[in-house]
Amino acid sequence: MLTERVEKLRKQSLEAIPHIWIGRGEIVTDTYIKNEGKVSTPVLRALTFKDILEKKPVCINDGELIVGEKGDSPAGAPTFPELCCHTKKDFDVMNHREKISFKVDKNAYKIHNKKIKPYWEKRSIRHRILESMSEEWMDAYQAGVFTEFMEQRAPGHTVADKKIFIKGFNQFKSEIKYSIEKFQAGSDPDKLDRIEQLKAMYITCDAIIRFAERHSEKAMELASTENDPQRKIELENIAEVCKHVPANAPRNFHEALQAYWFIHLGVTTELNTWDAFNPGRLDQHLQPFYEEGLKDGSLTKESAYELLNLFWIKFNNQPAPPKVGFTLLESATYTDFANINSGGLKTDGSDAVNDMSYMVLDCIDEMRLLQPSSNIQLSEKNPDKFIERALHILKKGAGQPSIFNADAVIQEMLNMGKSIEDARDGGTSGCVETGAFGKEAYILHGYFNLTKILDLTLHNGYDNYTQKLIGIGTGDAMFFGSFEELMTAFKEQLKYFIDIKIEGSNKIAELYAETMPAPFLSVIIDDCISTGKDYNAGGARYNSSYIQGVGTGTITDSLSSIKQHVFDDQRFTMQSMIRAIDDNFDGYEILHSIVKNKTRKYGNDDDYPDSLMQEVFNTFHDSVNGRPNAIGGKYRINMLPTTSHVYFGSVIGATADGRKAGKPLSEGISPVQGADVKGPTAVLKSASKMDHLKTGGTLLNQKFTPEIFNDPKGITAIKDIVRTYFNMNGHHLQFNVVNADTLRDAQLHPQNYGDLIVRVAGYSDYFNNLGKDLQDEIIERTEQCVAL
């Protein structure tokens, strides 16, 4: 049950109007004007951080117990002009558009145009990145061969571990001091750089402590004029909490949440880290405080739950910072991808599910907020009750929590050379990305359009979208005499573009390392303090750079189609196939029907296409995995699209699987929409033929109607298919429990919904298998709208 306080603040959060808080941009500009060239870069960044936290308005909302906002008030979004500087047009777009808008007030326009933009437009890191990329990189980028995360957001993608729940920043300061003394006494050739870096870290420790103190002062000020005696006590308590954390280690449940929250604000204020930082294994971190609070009587289950609810609201108050240019136009979410983990294993390898795991699930269930996102880490050692509770939440249709295979996630980390303890303390974040929490920089460098590579191969390196020759010559595909010849050419093109991507990514990583250190984040990520190195320069214990493969289903089916119809069955020639896709199948209706209806497709547990998926995956893996990155670590792959499969589809003409020009690609490692017709067990079997353990994450979506989840046998069966998929080393599964609107669309476009299972009467069937009258009846039955 949500308390009145929670209901009120939740409502405030949902109704808050996203807007630009221009203060950050202004303070950054002032600090740079005053200090640039006078201090080292790390210290400049630290001073910037300090100035922001000292000058930004302190916001304590009425009734709340966990305090602090990233902007000036709920839903206030800061700008990061040092990374990417908005144009006036960007502001107009976000101010006026109907969806995902950010209001920009007159003052913000004025300050931005007069002060911020003139200083940053030619100095932002985005500007410098785009200036320093090679012609080949720009060609590939513009053609949609890959995207680049860091032209708009700083490398982030790391997650907190337990240290911030057992240490305060006074202790971090001592550790930094000790490290400085160690380098001063030693003869490390980089010792001056390291000492500068450590000094910068030290400044940020004081800054965050001062930031908390300002909240403490504000709370006292509010308490002095507060008439409600109950609220007065609460404000005094907030003042006490903020005086103590994060300077010192939290002493109780409330302080633990507040300490994390200040750190969260620190990390996401310093830079707009991708993907948003989060507390990681929250149930593990909170359980000791919970147990102690119950024991000494300072906490009840109810009061703990209320605090957790209030903590959730803080996340939802922070919309993702708005992007610039085309990315701004395309972005359709306020979500910042903070993704809280529960369950999994303890450091010693035993079952980690505890009281807080269930409380976190209750919180997800009742809060129904877009942020934070949440997942369960499911190990074979975790009880069925845990996943069943998660499935009962999922059946309500909000898509949360997603489910991860904790045992595979750990194995993936071991395969990358991490210690077993670090692996067990890790988990997943962002969408599906595996990481060693508190110890790893696992940086995403961008999506990679695998299907586009096939398109370029079929056109001998020529890109129809930009009408430019951007690839290498691998031969005229019209005259390929065997499927192997095609695969050889594909592999050469792939390698060529991976080389371009990696060269660019290395340059970008170097730019960040040199010009955009993150001293605050470095304080809380091992082993930046002991090595005196910045998070952005390889200071973390583990440094992984990821390239994300997109379009698994579409490329597999396209290859399968060519192999089957052109080479195996010889129903038509390469010339016909290429001409047909170039003409978007206009005038090739019969050929189009054949490739659409007769191709053996991925997702049906058929080795013919599935082995091609393996070949593409292995080729992609082998051309990326293990190559050195710019920060002392290695490149890795994961297989996820977020929403890039839509963009990537828009830059590719028709494909040999029958997909028309410009249409979205398949998403994650899921089959092409509607191509899988043998049910979920077959899909999971096909997907498991990919070697998930060689990745840092894969994304698989499954869509069910609510009926199957409402059947007691259905929940058990879904639990069983999840367990089985995980036995086969599958990394992740998420469920769409669809509503009537989707089913209506399914009626209009059945070709997109071949995999949709519905519960009919005493049996289940594919939606497409049913007559229209029955479909109508089911649509009426399933009118369960979900409001988020």
Binding site: I590, S593, K713, A717, D720, I721, R723, T724, A761
Partner: protein, 295 residues
């Protein structure tokens, strides 16, 4: 001998190659026995129940249907509509109902979900049609499944030679056994066949202490009469079975009849209310039977 009891010739050397006619393999079936199951639908049925929702199972032979709406008039089939042109038809306008599969081929398909069977305590269910109409093939595939520790269920109407049940019985873990009417004249009227062997076979299986779930399809106005229900209860009092499942007629089969060009006699408008289903359930519960609504 009744021609509908037809059997394939036996040849021990070629059992793996022995072919059966299958019209559907449904993976992730949740209501044809315990756990996650793969349900194999064998083609051919000795009964012609007027409410049957699988009319494509009536005829044991492979059938070819043609959907004019889908046809592109590409003439690849040259107007001949058979199995080989169906394979080539770009638009799937020519469709084949049923395929001949060897024991080994079918087993390969069943085995694909072995991991799911193990996690969920599921397995394979042979349904139809009437699976015992292909009893030699059924015996071989059942043996193969048991050799590989797969849980086996037979979904049967019970209309078969008793020898067929004798042969397969040791390889069957559970029967889903249909009972429709006790009165033979009424049975004949609605299913075109006598129920003598059905009742006799059930008695036989009961005496053999096999696991049986009785399935009673509730067809409104046809077999949901007080008389029929009390006769069924009386008969079941002499039978060892674990539970009875009440399967409510849903009336969704009509389109299939139209597609196959078959006459559809049922009035799909009459539906049993939840209250009535519950009433019937209570009658069975009062008789001391474990009663489940649905599969």
């Amino acid at each position: 001998m009744d021609p509908r009891f037809c059997e394939q010739p036996e040849d021990d050397n070629k059992k793996g190659y022995m072919k059966g006619t299958i019209f559907n393999i449904q993976r992730f079936s949740l209501h044809d026995g315990p756990g996650i199951r793969t349900t194999v639908f064998l083609k051919g049925c000795p009964l012609r129940c007027i409410w049957c929702h699988n009319p494509e199972s009536f005829d044991k032979s492979i059938q070819v249907t043609f959907d004019k709406e889908k046809c592109l008039e590409c003439l690849i089939c040259k107007g001949v509509r058979d199995i080989s042109t169906a394979e080539k038809c770009p638009a799937n306008a020519i469709e084949v109902i049923g395929q001949d599969m060897s024991v080994d081929e079918l087993f390969t398909e069943i085995y694909k979900d072995m991991d799911y069977f193990e996690t969920s305590n599921g397995g394979v269910t042979f349904s139809g049609g009437e699976p015992l109409m292909q009893s030699e093939f059924l015996l071989e595939i059942l043996k193969k499944c048991k050799e590989n520790s797969i849980h086996t269920v037979i979904d049967t109407c019970g209309y078969a030679k008793i020898e067929s049940f004798e042969k397969i019985n040791e390889f069957v873990d559970l029967y889903l056994y249909d009972l429709k009417f006790i009165d033979n004249d009424i049975h004949k009227k609605h299913t075109s066949s006598s129920n003598e062997s059905i009742l006799a076979n059930l008695k036989y299986l009961s005496e053999k202490n096999t696991r049986i779930f009785i399935r009673f399809p509730l067809i409104p106005g046809i077999n949901d009469t007080e008389k029929n229900i009390s006769e069924i209860i009386e008969f079941l009092n002499g039978i060892n079975f674990e539970q009875i499942n009440l399967l409510s007629y849903h009336g969704y089969e009509k389109n299939k009849y139209i597609k196959l060009g078959l006459h559809h006699k049922m009035d799909t408008r009459i539906k049993l209310s939840d209250e009535r289903i519950n009433e019937i359930k209570n009658i069975f519960v009062s008789a001391g039977f474990k009663t489940v609504v649905g599969g």
